[in-house]
Amino acid sequence: MLANYGYKDGSGEYFITVDTEKCNGCGDCVEACPAKVLEVIEDQYDPIEGDMIASVTDAHRKKIKYSCGPGKPVSNRPPLPCMAACAQDAITHSW
């Protein structure tokens, strides 16, 4: 499943996408994020299986633009810390 966390407003699209097929719930991204945007919890979208996966915390979902702002890559910047930390390449972002 592609879980898109975030929103779209007049200034752009701000989504962190977690590919739950790739995510193994290791939590490396949680450690890597300086803004504490991510957490590893039981898959809320598949309550029957209930695998542990990375997701964006409720507190950050409506302010991703600002939470991830300091790590926002504009030309030649490194990828977001969470993306760099993820060995499975499970995390992408939309801006």
Binding site: N4, F15, Q44
Partner: protein, 289 residues
């Protein structure tokens, strides 16, 4: 008291053909949304009863009221229901629910049951948010997107317009087609700004139907841009209260280029229905242990 144009009909229903006492599993889903609350009771995976009413200021009370209303005249009490799943904004505040499940999973599952396994894209236009969901043939979510940051493209926005124009919410859709030619959509996607814009249009002498047309098409476009992000695959189904508003649905279908499936049940109960289906699956899982 002034007439409440935004108020839609609340109701309950139960199947006269099912004897729930014979059923092996009696499960329920309670969807406490931002605007409306629904309770759906299923017996052995069949739709037995449901109710649909406005959410009050107290989530536990709203959940209890919806559940009691669904059980009215069935002789069923809360003790007879073996597993209850809570969903929607107030899902953690359903006191008798065994567990909360996000409404995104529930809407996909509910739409899968309502419209059949061919459904790949579900658009839920709720009271206060809007969700675009992709699901597989079992109703499992494969991709989703939720917009709950603003009220544009939601039922609450439509209620505001019904009230502003003194048009009953149930007539908004049909009235919006009562125009000679389609006006430009209102330019703002924000409900508050759109309302200001509509007020100026009314002062300029626009008829109500034209203002509604301009708002419905703005709303359809707003929702379409959300859908565009995840893509629209056939079959396409719409759930939630706005699915009953032809003014938005038909304009959205035009933008997408094909039609949404015709609803067979009340589109507002999809979330609670999905909850009841999950309740059944979880009950069976529990029994196996």
């Amino acid at each position: 008291m002034a007439e409440e144009y935004w108020r839609w009909k609340e109701y309950n229903w139960h199947s006269p053909d099912i004897d729930w006492k014979q059923a092996e599993s009696v499960t329920a889903g309670v969807d406490v949304g931002s605007v409306s609350s629904q309770a759906v009771i299923m017996t052995d995976g069949q739709l037995f009863a449901y109710s649909n009413m406005r959410t009050g200021s107290d989530s536990p009370d709203s959940a209890r009221n919806a559940m009691n209303w669904a059980m009215e005249e069935t002789g069923m009490t809360l003790e007879d229901v073996q597993y209850v799943v809570g969903t929607g904004y107030g899902r953690v505040n359903v006191p008798f629910a065994k567990r909360p499940i996000t409404e995104i999973a529930c809407h996909a599952r509910g739409a899968n049951w309502m419209y059949g396994p061919g459904v790949r894209t579900v658009l839920d236009m709720g009271g206060q948010d809007c969700k675009a969901i992709h699901c597989d043939e079992r109703g499992k979510v494969t991709n989703f997107l939720m917009n709950d940051k603003c009220a544009a493209g939601t039922g609450r926005g439509m209620e505001v317009f019904a009230d502003l124009l003194s048009v009953s919410i149930e007539e908004v859709g049909d009235m919006s087609f009562d125009v000679e030619e389609e006006p430009e959509p209102v330019s703002s996607t924000c409900v508050v700004f759109a309302k200001s814009e509509a007020t100026s249009l009314l002062r300029e002498g626009w008829p109500k139907s034209k203002v509604l047309a301009a708002y419905c098409s703005a709303m359809a476009h707003r929702v379409f841009t959300l859908l565009e992000r995840i893509g629209v695959e056939k079959d396409f189904a719409i759930t939630g209260g706005i699915a009953k508003n032809s003014g938005v649905v038909k304009r959205l279908e035009q933008e997408i280029g094909f039609e949404a499936l015709k609803p067979k049940h009340d589109t507002q109960i999809a979330g609670a229905l999905g909850g009841a289906l999950f309740a059944k699956a979880l009950l069976e899982k529990e029994r196996k242990k």
